[in-house]
Symmetry: C2
Subunit: 494 residues, 2 copies
Amino acid sequence: MSGNGQHTHGNGAGANGNGYKVPTGRAEWIVKRKAEAERTGDWNMSQMHFARKGLITEEMAFVAQKEKISAELVRSEVAKGTMIIPANINHVELEPMAIGVESLCKINANIGNSALVSNVDEELRKLHTAVHFGADTVMDLSTGGDIPMIREQILRHSPVPIGTVPLYEALSRVKRVEDLNIDLYLEVIEEQAQQGVDYFTIHAGVLIQYVPLVAKRITGIVSRGGAIMAQWMTAHHKQNFLYENFDRITKVMAKYDVSYSLGDGLRPGCVADASDEAQFAELKTLGELTRQAWKSDVQVMIEGPGHVPMDKIKEQVDKEVELCDGAPFYVLGPLVTDIAPGYDHITSAIGAAMIGWHGAAMLCYVTPKEHLGLPNEKDVKDGIIAYKIAAHAADIARHRPGARDRDDAISHARYTFDWDKQFALSLDPDTARGMHDETLPDDYYKEAAFCSMCGPKFCSMNWSSKVDEFNAKEHGLKKPDLTQIVTEQMALRS
Amino acid sequence: MSGNGQHTHGNGAGANGNGYKVPTGRAEWIVKRKAEAERTGDWNMSQMHFARKGLITEEMAFVAQKEKISAELVRSEVAKGTMIIPANINHVELEPMAIGVESLCKINANIGNSALVSNVDEELRKLHTAVHFGADTVMDLSTGGDIPMIREQILRHSPVPIGTVPLYEALSRVKRVEDLNIDLYLEVIEEQAQQGVDYFTIHAGVLIQYVPLVAKRITGIVSRGGAIMAQWMTAHHKQNFLYENFDRITKVMAKYDVSYSLGDGLRPGCVADASDEAQFAELKTLGELTRQAWKSDVQVMIEGPGHVPMDKIKEQVDKEVELCDGAPFYVLGPLVTDIAPGYDHITSAIGAAMIGWHGAAMLCYVTPKEHLGLPNEKDVKDGIIAYKIAAHAADIARHRPGARDRDDAISHARYTFDWDKQFALSLDPDTARGMHDETLPDDYYKEAAFCSMCGPKFCSMNWSSKVDEFNAKEHGLKKPDLTQIVTEQMALRS
Ligand code: SF4
Ligand code: SF4
């Protein structure tokens, strides 16, 4: 998992299964860029800054290859702000990736400890599991223990962009929420940026005038950052210090190329609270802040809810695009019902797939443990798989080029009873194989024209192949030839 | 689980959690109806027949109470054909329920053995699990062992309607597919109807002229019934004998009030094959058969796919409504991607929720074992939960009256840290409690204003309650009062 050498992620489940190559020498690109800055005095290191100068960085070229789109498209999207490449210059272990509507739909996995459960090895295992099964970015949301040390370990082992919520570390350094202040905050983000964090969730849009708008909600404020800022503002009767000092924060972001992930502090926490005045008031402010950050060529994405009934999902994307000028939309879920704690990877995968189809650029996973406790490694895996499904379904529904190839290949393997290929092309080969082998473990059955579901006499695909023979003989009709697609897809997973 | 006495299903997860009462004496209603038939000579026992005569049957009244809609609405929907009440006069253990767009979205669970895995006790356990977690109907798809005995056991223990695919038993009685014929088939359905089966899947719409249309598909014909009929037709060079003898079949349906579930033998088996010519050609024929059945006042629902990318889901419902005059749409999934065997309860819950929102009346579950083997009891449970989520999300999105109450109640319990209520109001209380207790098992924590996810210092809902105090004090703004909804919802689950 270092930045050198060539490999593909895990079993190919990684990074949308594109089987891309790790770039060699990101450290060297940065050295060159710094030398150039030394010469010109222009220390803005953001990808957007280069894009707007008309330059295609190595990161853009790499991303273009991975996404199978042109480098110029990547550059122009980054320049416009409709795509971001979160790539802190100090995160040299990174394999660059893009978030935006012109690229494949991405997924994020949250890891990190809490004060009650804290263990760096466990967090590294979660990171490994997340990346192995295909997380495109990972957020370290640690709030307990030695936060900087855990983050350092995560960054140094992560080929995917790492995001954080710096407010958590800031709060961990003071006794009470009221003691938070901008100087402490700037200190924290400077340190985290220096370490190499690729994006920061910053709750600068929760303004004091929006606080009364949450009174009529069932679940008030459910974003941790949003709740902390609201508590700070109401205690001090002052405006949000992140909003007031936005330009000072932006300066740090530009220097290291940390991307903004503008937090939705007032996101709904239950379906009843979705799409309310509080949520859209904040979204409007996030739009203003986006344009403000873009003045300094700093990359921005916008965080979204949360809990939203299906009939309001499209509206969420439409509003975001309208109010935030198409900055990439990075959404948590949304959960489409509140009644299934223990299964919120499913309630939210439904909403995530739909919002991805409508144009969200990245889906933040929700694990089965949501609302109930800190996810463990198994929960992380279950969350990732559910979200790979959602993001992939979104890519198919948006007709992204080649998105359906893996489906076609696995369907062909299924129809031709090539069980080993069917497993290999799955999101989770071991689970698929294990389920099959529960009833028919013998190797012999890996070529059997049936499984235990219907049995040999009732296997529809078995009968169907006879119908194919009829169609060929009587009507001269042939099945489509999928050899090339299957071969390509298998190669990506070997 | 008998038809007498009063109880609610399981822990209240049953039947959309409406906590309805079991009717007393369905057997007596039927006796009365038969006496009347004796008198008049009119032996058509279908609910549609009574509805069209302007009569509100006990079943309609019961359903109306359960659905919280008027009995006259139920009658008129059943008369029109846009709602069915699958209720064989010989299934006296039944608690009547309705399938239609004016009622809550329903879910079906498939159980039944295959030749390779056969055990009546296991099937009865699956039935119990399915009903306990909220299956609205159950299909017995047994294809091996003593099929009539298994079915008898299932019927006599089932408070929910039971569906079958009679073609399976017919095929089990002959050596080769070619040996199937209408006389054998009529014998089988007469016997099954006599036993009390509430609906039959009948693949009468797979016509010989549609067979060449599947040649260009990746996965051909994946419906077992469809594949069997195609194989029969191509072997004999003859038209589908179910289509040719549709009126003879309809006579049996009318006599026992068995509902048609017109099978989609040409449903797509992968996303590439969705919404193709073969599928819609058959759907058009299903529409003709619907109108034909309605001439004899026989109830009909229409089966739907299968595998469909998200962008084509709405079209599926629109076409069905158009071609089949709004007969209730009963869909399998659909799966929105093919790449996740082992997780197809999730890939399909996404499609199921969406199609339920767009107007499908019943969702046939898919278990994690789909494509890989015969589901066991755990798979049945996982499938049911995923589909309860999908159907409930659909009810919310369609704004069905009171659909969101349970969400609001659980969200309120969550926000007020009433952990026990949050668990009780969950779809699967034991799982929710178990996940919470993994890290904080002590009783003390059942009133704690945090959990292990964020811990006490970072619990957003904890901070938010302080913001509520501010809003109350500074602005005189109060939280909504949910006492009544919580009390009602808790009562339904006790
Ligand atoms: S037996 Fe059934 S589930 Fe198994 S391969 Fe054949 S059609 Fe598919
Ligand atoms: S600690 Fe976090 S997950 Fe747990 S109750 Fe509080 S806000 Fe919810």
